[in-house]
């Protein structure tokens, strides 16, 4: 075992040599900032975004705990904290946003064959392949297990027909992990399989969906006689529901961090917005009604942040309480954006044109985007169902 102080020194030096200046705190603001999702279709406004991803990917530090044979960093928990601390110290940007890392990789590690892990994990970790999630269908939202996309067994391959919806960034993704029905006669939960599909296969097509925010982060994805080799099946045929649920827990765990102001959204601080637009008197937000609403929200957010920390300290792996975090994370994010636009006033509902600040126009759209937070990844009502049944044991 390597000495931790030595490791810290190594990390520090490596970051110093390898983390480009534009990827650190205090970067030149004129350099455009990329949202890096990797993949074959990736485009970079700043070439250093790609360089930073390649270097971190080669070290396996985009998934530092995964073992080296799968392309991970092979680090122990203490070493990961050191890596995080040292990255934080220089304000290093995360190199990669990835559904592959957040959702698929944990499931591959648990359910994949050795061959599947070796084939897919390194490409996820290096950001070479961008994944999307094929779960919901037009007729299967909250009742996900009623899904109808069909995969017929055709010897050494499946023939897939059907339609997925709400596939995030399907138009930009290289591969999709999809739930398909392989057992049409089995009870609904027992006829589902978990399948990996290359989006370049003949018969796969996508179409973006425009949201109320004006943006199109989601697509419809169509499968028309798509031939998928059987080696792409994860777990047993018709046993995909357990994998689907495990993945949902990972998805919820990562979505839950959205409830903290520090972790996402417009990145703007509610209190400073309120002081700027409403005004302040002796350092206090001058309107008592807004101030008390903001305080109530901040108190909840503080307690929620402590709860995320407690779950981590208790070594909480993905569990039914992930539903609680997903529920609160998304509801808090909605509430915070409601408070932000209210505090911004008329400018908080700005849509377009030169009369408004870009920040305010972005806020309007960010606020509308949050309305999806309590729907995607299982609605708030579904989370409440999960808690009442699986945590509290209330009868069905």
């Amino acid at each position: 075992m390597q000495n931790l102080e030595e490791f810290r020194k190594e990390v520090k030096e490596w970051l110093n040599d390898n983390c480009p200046q534009s990827m650190r705190a205090g970067a030149d603001p004129s350099i455009p900032v990329d949202e890096v999702w990797g993949g074959r279709k990736a485009e970079y406004k700043n070439p250093e975004s790609k360089l930073w991803l390649d270097r971190m990917g080669a070290k396996g530090w985009t998934m530092p705990t995964v073992s080296k044979e799968y392309g991970g960093g092979g680090l122990r928990a203490e070493e990961v904290s050191i890596l995080n601390q040292e990255m934080f110290a220089i304000g290093a940007k995360g190199p990669l946003l990835s559904f592959g890392i957040w959702m698929l990789a944990p499931v591959l590690l648990e359910y994949g064959t050795e061959e599947q892990k070796k084939k897919h994990l390194p490409k996820i970790i290096k950001g070479e392949i961008r994944w999307c999630q094929g779960y919901s269908e037009p007729g299967s939202g909250s009742d996900l297990a009623s899904l109808a996309t069909k995969a017929e067994d055709n010897g050494d391959h499946f023939i897939v027909n059907g339609q997925k919806v709400w596939t995030s960034y399907a138009d930009k993704a290289d591969w999709i992990f999809a739930l398909v029905r392989t057992g049409p006669k089995e009870p609904k939960h027992d006829g589902i399989s978990f399948l990996l599909i290359d989006m370049e296969t003949l018969g796969v097509s996508t179409k973006p969906i425009t949201l109320i925010s004006g943006k199109s982060p989601f697509c419809e994805t169509f499968f028309d006689n798509v031939k998928v080799p059987k080696e792409n099946l994860i777990g047993q045929q018709n046993a995909g529901w357990a994998i689907a649920k495990a993945l949902l827990q990972h998805e919820r765990a990562f979505l839950s961090s959205f409830g903290l102001a520090s972790s996402m959204g417009s990145g703007r601080d509610l209190v400073s917005i309120a002081k700027k637009h409403i005004g302040e008197e002796s350092g206090k937000i001058s309107n008592g009604f807004y101030r008390s609403q903001i305080t109530a929200h901040k108190i909840k957010e503080h307690a929620f942040g402590l709860t995320l920390k407690r779950a981590k300290d208790e070594d909480g792996k993905a569990s039914p309480t992930a539903s609680m975090f997903k529920l609160y994370g998304s509801e808090h994010n909605k509430k915070r954006h409601e408070l932000m636009i209210a505090a911004t006033g008329i400018n908080g509902v700005a849509w377009d044109g030169d009369e408004f600040d870009k920040k305010d126009k972005d806020l309007t759209r960010a606020w509308l985007r949050t309305k999806g937070n309590s729907i995607e990844g299982g609605t708030s009502e579904v989370q409440l169902n999960v808690i009442s049944k699986r945590v509290l044991g209330l009868p069905s």
């Binding site: 209190v271 309120a274 350092g283 206090k284 937000i285 101030r291 008390s292 903001i294 305080t295 109530a296 901040k298 108190i299 909840k300 503080h302 307690a303 929620f304 402590l306 709860t307 920390k309 407690r310 300290d313 208790e314 309480t321 609680m324 529920l327 609160y328 009502e381 989370q383 409440l384 169902n385 808690i387 009442s388 049944k389 945590v391 509290l392 044991g393 209330l394 009868p395 069905s396």
Partner: protein
Amino acid sequence: MKLILNEEQQFLKDTARDFAKERTPVNHFRSLRDNKSETLWDKDIWQEMVKLGWSGILIPEEFGGSNFGVAGISVILQECGKTLTPSPLFSTGVIGAYAISNFGTQEQKEKYLPKITNGDITTALAIDESSHHDPAKTLLKAKLSDDHYVLNGKKIFVIDGASADILIVLTRTSGNSGDLAGLTLFIVEADTPGINKIKLDMADSRNYANIEFNNVESSKGNILGTLEAGGESVERILDIGRIAMSAEMLGNAEAAFETTIEYLKQRKQFGVLIGTFQALQHRAAEMFCEIELTKSAVMAAMHGADENSNELQRLSSLAKTVAGETLHLVTNEAIQMHGGIGVTDEYDLGFYIKRSRVAEQIFGSSAFHSERYANLSGF
């Protein structure tokens, strides 16, 4: 700071859980109330708690205590809160023990701490003077006269004040109402001439008193902490009390919630268990989440106290606000979900809602602490 219990704290919690279950189930409190017990807590039960070492948890070992810290006493109160165990543990084992251990002179420590550890005396903090907690507004006057002070004024809602042997009294030695400066704490023995205790009858049937001070003489040696700096020390003492009270309130909420979940699993209407109704399931799930948030806030605050966090005031106000709101919600919902039986005196839930609303007032309500949190955070 890790938001988990260490082995010692877990052991204290387990011991307290067993004690509350076996020695002080809710019926214990019911019989004290029904029999109009003088102190509204049981002297023998208190001595059993003393024997378990609970009165000395915040007291250094040299004075017979165990120095297990705020987290240690908080988890005990949490478990005792589950069965509404009445005892002077909060007023004595938290407030008296902490105040004298941290702000007392060597002489005061030697005089009082061993007696607190041994269960020979109980203490009470005399602080409030009006219907809303606000220490800065203290008016009770302590005036220097030759070599001693003379106290005049009235304290209200003194927890365990009806039976306490020792009173810790917040007085004004200078300045005006609203100033935290000019406040001084005194240790006053409750049988000093000029003290008049008026027992209160509160909704939660616990031990409280209003206390009048008519020309009560107290020597300079009875000042606790520094003259004129009582505002600062009392804030610290109150924060520890708020955290411990939040833990007790968390225990109250956990028990009322558990009772309700059990009821949803056995009560039938329309031929089915009422726990199958989504209208109730979702509200139950929301309560579960609120309790989880409260656990985290209380945990962070009690560890913050033991680790001398510079965030202690915010954490204390966070815990008291969240615990107050959660217990408020849970007691209301518990009664509603139980239906008619929930509003009968025969059923225990009424005790929880009555205790809830009194506990919410202790050392500042959620409104007080939200405001304090906002001020401390610069909102």
